[in-house]
Amino acid sequence: MEATIALLLNFAIPTVIVAAIFIALLLFVLPREVRTIFKREVKSYFNSPIAYVCVFIFLVISNGITFWFGGLLESGEASLYISYFQYLPWYFVVVAPAVGMRLWSEEQRLGTMELMLTMPIAPWHAIVGKYLAASVVIFAMLVLSFPIVWVINYLGNPDNGVIMAGFVASFLTALCFLAVTSVVSAFTRSQIVALLISIGLCLLLWLGGLQPVSQAVASLKGGWLFVWPFLKFINIIGIIPHFSELAKGVLGLRDIIFFLSFIAFCLFSTAVVLRVKRA
């Protein structure tokens, strides 16, 4: 009984905090226009099958793999990083673009972009409003993943703070992928094209921080003409090191700043792309 309450507090509180940050942003920080767009977009996500399909697929895959292949039950080990969190970004490489592909491509296909951008709003209002709405879908996925926490607490005595950090790291990573998708969807009116290109870019972004890439960057040292700058670049923006630090419970300011500034940069780029496309 006590354990259950402790557990609830452990997870209800951070969930409520994230939700509260969202609501506070929308109600007090961001202008009314962002709120209006956000509301419309959230409704439109949950009025169409896309959000449910994405959430469902995400839950099935993430839980399935963890229980059957991750050896969660056998190991009896109470660390979720090994069997669960380290895989989450892989799913998000596909799922976040699936959620975000419609952000701007749909707007262009329907022609409603012409309505949206002739309204008395700044383009960033629309970009942020839509982005926040899509991140609600991602947030819903993570909130609905809580049974795994319950299971792990049933099995043993894990450090729930670390688990929470795992969720935060996963959420931030997914938000980065979503931000990449936002830029890509501004380029094209086709959702499929946006989806495929975003998946490719997110994969690069995720893998860029891998050990082999770092080693290649170190050993090549400027050779190979274009390959080296490219490797160096994706190595610098690679998410893996930031993710694993955070997810293991090391709440580094540097990593948080990396995530937030990456997202901000992508949203800014979305505005630039939308502007250049019209010129």
Binding site: R32, E33, K43, L110, G111, E114, T118, M119, P120, A279
Partner: protein, 316 residues
């Protein structure tokens, strides 16, 4: 209200709008005419702030569309070409969303939505999802969106496209009525519409303004304006023609039809002689025994002017 100065737009090498200027005051309805691809929609997209101009200035209600973007945009209501809508909303929700975005005060949104629904005859579909609407209703929904915040400036790109004849009539009247208190620009391919609702019209071809004036002024520019349509008999047709050509008031005679003893012709007067011409023709009747069956002064028609001054695509 709307001031456009030396506006140009290039898409790469292609010049879509080429140095055009015009102004529209409050109480004016400006009709935009021109062949397909003339640059009407591109001009409107620039005036509404959707496309950035390549060169030139646009100000709406005194606010520059680039420097004071939000102030300028908040004065405008815009119906884009093809009436785009969010397909996952109902008509009512869509209008509510637009009202909110257009900064209608929260307590007036319901009123604004109801009024727009009434004005555009949408009662029947107000709870229907937008993606199941027929084309005409889609168009009317988008039109409702453009007037929901009672803007001072209205930009309507082919507002009657896809409407049935009754609705076309209603929309023309609506434009005319709203034109008394607003500045309106609308584009159309239907020339009667210009006469029905415009106080002024501009004809654009390949990005340039090639005619500008009230519908009456424009009609007078048509080649046949002031010409006399004549159906007469009593003499041999060649005789009638010769007699007409001898008149000092006559510049030329176009024979449209000729029988043995009759003629149907368009008589073009010399410059400044159009008032005297009918009298001179009646004089012929007295002196030469010409029998006039029908005689009328042609007003000139917009479609004729349109065809005369816009080049068909084949001439490049």
């Amino acid at each position: 209200m709307i001031e456009v100065k030396n506006l140009s737009k290039h898409f790469g090498e292609k010049v879509a709008v080429d140095n055009i200027s015009f102004t529209v005051e409050k109480g004016e309805v400006l009709g935009f005419l021109g062949p397909n691809g003339a640059g009407k929609s591109t001009t409107m997209r620039m005036v509404t702030g959707y496309l950035p101009p390549s060169a030139g200035d646009i100000s709406v209600g005194g606010a520059d569309i680039l420097d004071e973007e939000i102030a300028a945009k908040s004065k405008i209501g815009y119906l884009p070409e093809n009436a785009p809508l969010y397909s996952d909303m109902t008509v009512e929700d869509f209008l509510r969303f637009c009202a909110e975005m257009r900064r209608v005060p929260t307590d007036q949104i319901e009123d604004a939505v109801n009024k727009a629904i009434d004005t555009c005859f949408l009662q029947r579909v107000r709870h229907q999802s937008v993606d199941t609407l027929s084309k005409g209703f889609r168009h009317r929904t988008c039109l409702a969106q453009s007037i929901i915040h009672d803007p001072e400036v209205l930009i309507l790109d082919e507002p009657t496209d896809g409407l049935d004849p009754n609705q076309k009539h209603e929309v023309r009247n609506l434009i005319k009525r709203m034109g008394e208190t607003k500045a309106i620009i609308f584009s159309t391919h239907i020339l009667e519409e210009v006469e029905a609702s415009c106080s002024r019209a501009i004809i654009i071809d390949r990005g340039k303004i090639i005619a500008d004036g009230t519908p009456d002024q424009l009609k007078k520019k048509a080649r046949n304006a002031g010409a006399i349509f004549l159906r007469a008999g009593g003499l041999a047709s060649t005789g009638i023609r010769q007699e007409l050509e001898k008149l000092p008031e006559v510049q030329s005679v176009n024979v449209l039809e000729s029988g043995d003893n009759s003629i149907v012709a368009r008589v073009i007067p010399n410059k400044g002689k159009d008032k005297e011409l009918p009298e001179a023709i009646f004089q012929l009747a007295v002196t030469k025994g010409l029998k006039v069956h029908e005689l009328r002064v042609e007003e000139g028609r917009l479609d004729e002017l349109f065809r005369e001054i816009t080049r068909p695509d084949t001439e490049d």
